[in-house]
């Protein structure tokens, strides 16, 4: 927690188009240590766009500018494509929402994971396979030898997401950006996947950015929370103190969610104030 892995100051992502410039991320600043940082917001809040910008994955014609964006002392703004390729997968990784679209459908699970070790760690085939099997076991896949030889369509959603996490973690990155990693999963499976991520943060001292729209999960899982609205961070707070949030948007979001704990006659609707964007 003490040491800063990622330092972002005044990050902006803009998408120019014929209709003008869309500011997807505005003046975002935060630091990440060896902790679980939650990023919450609704669709269009810029949370995923921010996650991609951190990995240099902003699609064209997007423009990323920042006063400072550094990872472990290295200036990310000055990175060439070759520099990014040395970082991505090796030291910073990303898990996407749906394993169905992120895994190669015609390559066996094991071989896909092997590729990471071979590419980034220069491991030979036997060594790569050993690492893959160990990693599959670490993400609590019961029968790693069998799963190693399966194709993605033969896995359930929860298993696919575990395989994805195994692939991202086999190179032991310092930072993992997880973009809605559990949203496509059933609640009971959700917690299994969260527990795996939790262990990795605690045991390996990884920094985790957990992007989600689900306030319940973020507040119970993360250490710190950033709330995004219209591309801006409108509130930053400790996860345990989310219910004392000050910003009207955060408060409205909490009030709008039906709660299992207490019955509400009518749900509060979110009133938006254009002033929040300035």
């Amino acid at each position: 927690m003490s040491e800063t892995l990622l330092d972002v100051q005044d990050l902006n992502v803009a998408f120019p188009s014929r209709a003008g410039i869309t500011q997807a991320v505005r003046h975002v600043s935060f630091t990440l240590g060896r902790e679980r940082l939650g990023v919450v917001g609704e669709s269009g809040s810029g949370k995923s766009t921010m996650g991609r910008a951190l990995l240099g994955l902003t699609p064209k014609p997007g423009i990323v500018t920042a006063r400072k964006m550094s990872f472990d002392g290295q200036d990310l703004l000055a990175c060439s494509e070759a520099d990014w390729q040395r970082l991505r997968g090796r030291r910073m990784s990303m898990v996407m929402q749906d394993p169905k679209y992120s895994l190669n459908p015609v390559v066996r699970i094991g071989h896909q994971i092997d590729e990471t070790s071979r590419l980034h760690l220069g491991a030979n085939a036997a060594e790569a396979q050993r690492r893959t099997l160990a990693m599959l076991e670490a993400v609590q896949i019961r029968d790693p030898d069998r799963v190693y030889n399966l194709y993605p369509h033969e896995l359930s959603g929860g298993m696919g997401q575990r395989a994805m996490i195994a692939m991202m973690l086999v190179a032991e990155p310092d930072i993992l950006i997880a973009d809605e990693p559990t949203s496509a999963l059933d609640v009971t499976v959700q917690n299994d996947v969260l527990r795996i991520l939790d262990d990795l943060v605690r045991e390996r001292g990884m920094g985790l950015i957990f992007i989600s729209h689900n306030l319940t999960i973020v507040s119970s899982f993360c250490d710190r929370i950033l709330v995004m609205y219209g591309g801006k961070i409108v509130e930053e707070c400790k996860a345990t103190e989310l219910h004392h949030a000050k910003h009207p948007y955060t408060r409205a979001l909490i009030a709008a969610a039906p709660s299992l704990a207490e019955a509400r006659e009518e749900l509060a609707t979110v009133m938006r104030d254009p002033a929040w964007l300035t």
Binding site: V187, Q190, N191, H213, S220, L253, A257, P258, A261, T269
Partner: protein
């Protein structure tokens, strides 16, 4: 009002059999909102689609007002039972305006005073006149779901079947749609069945809730018991615990 007994659904294909719904029985009183929760593959949506007549039953009976209804629905019985689907993007015709989507239902069922009814339905679901001649792609997700609800309500049904009506929506939009549904069922004294994977949503709208797993109803409990975590079955307790959020110990 709705009486389901020993409902079974078996899907057959390429030599395989899939027993999706097993001996499901429940009753829904007039004016009640009954909830069905479960994880993917539990058969909750299949139950709803079977009631709507979209899926063939393999056994059991569905009775409305004491009258068993057959697989082949009469026009009148289908009018009385309307369904709202999860995905407002997929359930509205992309090349029809809101007006023609609503009008089609009226034409099929031979309603008179169509313009008047369309205007009323649009107002009922909280849309304004300017939305009447828009296409689905010109509407937001929440507005589209309002159109889907208007399309169901325009036929003045007595039963509303809701299949994950808010799962594709943001929290703030979900709140608006849930409030709308709560308000409409009161003013039109609708009987409804709500299927969802989200326990908080179901507890918010329903009085009694059935928990499904592997095609069976594991147990039926009240919303109050669900909130307090008073459940007979281990599976229900696990589901409730998981829905409360992540817990480190376990």
């Amino acid at each position: 009002m709705i009486n389901i007994s020993n409902l079974n659904v078996i899907f057959r294909g390429s030599g395989k059999e899939m027993h999706a719904v097993r001996d499901v029985s429940f009753t829904v009183a007039a004016g009640e909102t009954f909830g069905i929760v479960g994880e993917s593959g539990s058969g909750k949506s299949t139950v709803l689609r079977t009631i709507a007549g979209l899926v063939q039953t393999s056994g059991g009976t569905i009775a409305i007002n004491g009258q068993a209804i057959s697989q082949k629905r009469s026009r009148d019985s289908s009018r009385l039972m309307q369904m709202v689907f999860q995905d407002p993007y997929g359930s509205l015709h992309p090349r029809q305006t809101v007006d023609s989507i609503l009008r089609e239902a009226l034409i099929i069922h031979g309603f008179d005073r169509q313009d008047e009814r369309i205007l009323k339905a649009i107002a009922d679901v909280g849309l304004s006149l300017q939305h009447r001649f828009r296409y689905p792609h010109q509407l937001s997700g929440g507005q589209r779901q309002r159109v889907a609800i208007a399309r169901a309500l325009i036929l003045s049904p007595s039963i509303l079947l809701l299949d994950e009506p808010t799962s594709a929506l943001d929290v703030s939009v979900q709140a608006e749609i849930l409030n709308l549904l709560a308000h409409l069922r009161q003013s039109y004294s609708l009987t409804s069945i709500l299927v969802s994977h989200d326990l908080a949503v179901v507890a918010h709208l329903c009085s009694r809730i059935a928990v499904m797993q592997f095609g069976r109803i594991v147990e039926v409990l009240s919303a109050a018991d669900l909130r307090l975590g008073i459940a007979r079955e281990n599976y229900t307790r696990a589901l409730i615990a998981a829905s409360r959020g992540f817990s480190r110990a376990q």
